[in-house]
């Protein structure tokens, strides 16, 4: 074989490869367009399926988003968590100030402040509104308190700080405001598990809803399937439009879920911000974000496609020309 001919053979091969890719792309584009048109031809039925999928997606995703925000919030609150060290009555103000000096030099203490019984009673009268009760008592029942702001918050470090403080002379008791943060975090972890479980179950639900809708579509297009198989359509040719339909259902549902989440954020943002400001937190509630939204859309499409695949696997083989 001469050189030029070989070159032309390679060119030919490249051309057939390219035209095969081109025609595959054409087929996909045409099938996707036709599938979408078909869905839009029955807008009410399509909207209902899409709504079911959207609601099924919005529940677990919304819950996960809420938990994520609470987790962020608890970290944020944990940073300003306080330790109250209650002193015995015998400790004088001067002794207490010395203690504050010592504690202030510890590495794990950010700030230490002495609140004398008198200051304590003033604060109590000011904030509690129960000043009359205090005034009725013959002597000030409040102990002196050292208020600490710890620097770090991991469990071991907190334990060390706690036992050190309890061991100090003149210390009556130590109260960690950390406990509720820990409890909240445990609760959040638990709720996170529950949400993950819910997500899994509802994802299955989305796949099954799509699968069932596709099953009906397959029944409705029995004649077409028979003709396509008769003129030489492979199982893949027959399945392709249904897979696109499923993916579109999932995508539509995910878009609906995104809209619902966005609406929910819009409604909740105002009150949530006010509440956070009241608690003195500068935390800002986080939405789904661009990445999360893209993930939701991709996940929804994938689930729809998967449901369609299940249905197609089960029902298409049964339709053969007879």
């Amino acid at each position: 074989m001469s050189k030029p001919r070989r070159a032309s053979g390679a060119q030919q091969h490249r051309r057939t490869m390219r035209s095969a890719l081109q025609s595959a792309a054409q087929t996909h584009w045409r099938t996707a367009r036709q599938s979408l048109q078909r869905l839009l031809q029955t807008p009410v039925a399509t909207a209902m399926t899409v709504a079911v999928i959207g609601i099924a997606l919005v529940l677990p995703v919304g819950l996960l988003l809420t938990l994520d925000n609470l987790r962020g919030l608890s970290g944020n609150l944990g940073g300003v968590s306080q330790v109250s060290v209650y002193l015995e009555d015998s400790v004088s103000a001067a002794q207490a100030e010395t203690l504050v000096q010592e504690l202030g030099q510890r590495e794990d203490v950010q700030q230490a402040r002495y609140v004398s019984p008198e200051e304590g009673s003033e604060e109590f009268i000011e904030y509690s509104g129960l000043g009359d009760v205090l005034a009725a008592l013959s002597e000030n029942p409040l102990p002196g308190v050292i208020v600490l702001t710890p620097r770090l918050l991991d469990a071991a470090g907190a334990q060390t700080l706690l036992s050190d403080l309890e061991g100090l002379p003149g210390v009556q008791s130590v109260q960690f405001d950390l406990a509720w943060v820990e409890r909240l975090q445990q609760l959040l972890a638990l709720a996170g598990r529950a949400a993950a479980g819910l997500l899994l179950v509802l994802c299955l639900g989305v796949a099954f809803v799509t699968g069932n809708t596709i099953r009906l579509a397959i029944e409705g297009r029995r004649a077409e399937i028979v003709v396509v198989k008769l003129v030489g359509g492979t199982d893949a040719d027959v399945a392709l439009p249904f897979l696109y339909c499923g993916a579109f259902y999932g995508l539509g549902g995910a878009i609906g879920a995104c809209l619902l989440l966005w609406l929910g954020m819009l409604l909740l943002q105002g009150p949530a911000q006010t509440l956070l400001t009241l608690y003195g937190s500068d935390y800002r509630p986080q939405g789904l974000g661009l990445g999360g939204g893209a993930l939701l859309l991709a996940g929804g499409s994938l689930l729809g496609w998967l449901g369609a695949l299940l249905s197609v696997r089960q029902h298409l083989a049964a339709i053969e020309p007879r």
Partner: protein, 232 residues
């Protein structure tokens, strides 16, 4: 092109549809398959389309044993065969053009090439001006011609037809047969099942007669066209 070797076909219910059928159809040959209804004409065509498998014997199409055809090869076998049905098997959710384009879309023809071939096929059956219509708007004879255009659009080596003139008046039926003869003249092998004896005996072709699943007669109408020989 087509060879049946001792082919028998018994349906699961026990009905013996074909019994020891032997015949051969040469490349480029045209033959009619006749017999009363229930004689086994449709079963024979279904075996060729691998819609059924024979319970005995073997069927060779272009040298390939259909009994040994793996399931995933069946679509590719069907692409080499055009089929015309009595009930047309057209899809009413799309235009005449899209119906005819279906086999080409499945085979992945580029759009411009597919469009060209569809128009050529529609022109051949005289329906070029009705390409945008829905098949439901067409008469029975026109619908059958759409079916024929779809069967020949990817230029198959073999064309099968199952009672293609069953629902048509004699004049239209004769027109359809003329169309088949034209395809045969360009080298397509043809097997046409029809019980319309008065029509097919007028045409000069081979006639296979089936009775209760067996070939009882294999005769030429008029002179045996040996002179025509194989196509170039």
């Amino acid at each position: 092109m087509i060879r049946f070797d001792n082919v028998s076909m018994r349906y699961p219910g026990g009905h013996q549809a074909l019994h020891q059928v032997n015949f051969e159809l040469a490349d480029g040959e045209m033959a009619f398959l006749t017999g009363r209804s229930g004689a086994g004409k449709s079963t024979l065509l279904k075996l060729l389309m691998v819609m059924e498998k024979p319970s005995q014997g073997q069927i060779l199409v272009d040298g390939r044993n259909l009994g040994r055809l793996p399931r995933q090869q069946i679509p590719f076998h069907r692409r080499r065969i055009g089929v015309v049905f009595q009930d047309h098997q057209l899809l009413f959710d799309r235009s005449v053009f899209d119906n005819v384009a279906l086999p080409l879309q499945i085979e992945g023809y580029p759009k411009h090439e597919a469009d060209r071939r569809v128009r050529a096929a529609l022109d051949k059956v005289g329906l070029l001006r009705k390409e945008k219509m829905n098949p439901q708007q067409l008469s029975g004879g026109e619908q059958q011609r759409v079916g024929i255009a779809r069967a020949v659009v990817n230029r198959p080596q073999i064309l099968l037809a199952d009672e293609p003139t069953g629902n048509l008046d004699p004049e239209l039926a004769a027109e359809i047969m003329q169309l088949f003869e034209q395809f045969n003249q360009v080298g397509v092998s043809m097997l046409i099942a029809s019980h319309d004896l008065s029509l097919i005996t007028r045409l000069q072709h081979r006639i296979l007669t089936l009775d209760q699943g067996s070939v009882v007669q294999d005769a030429w109408q008029g002179a045996e066209p040996a002179a025509r020989g194989p196509r170039p």
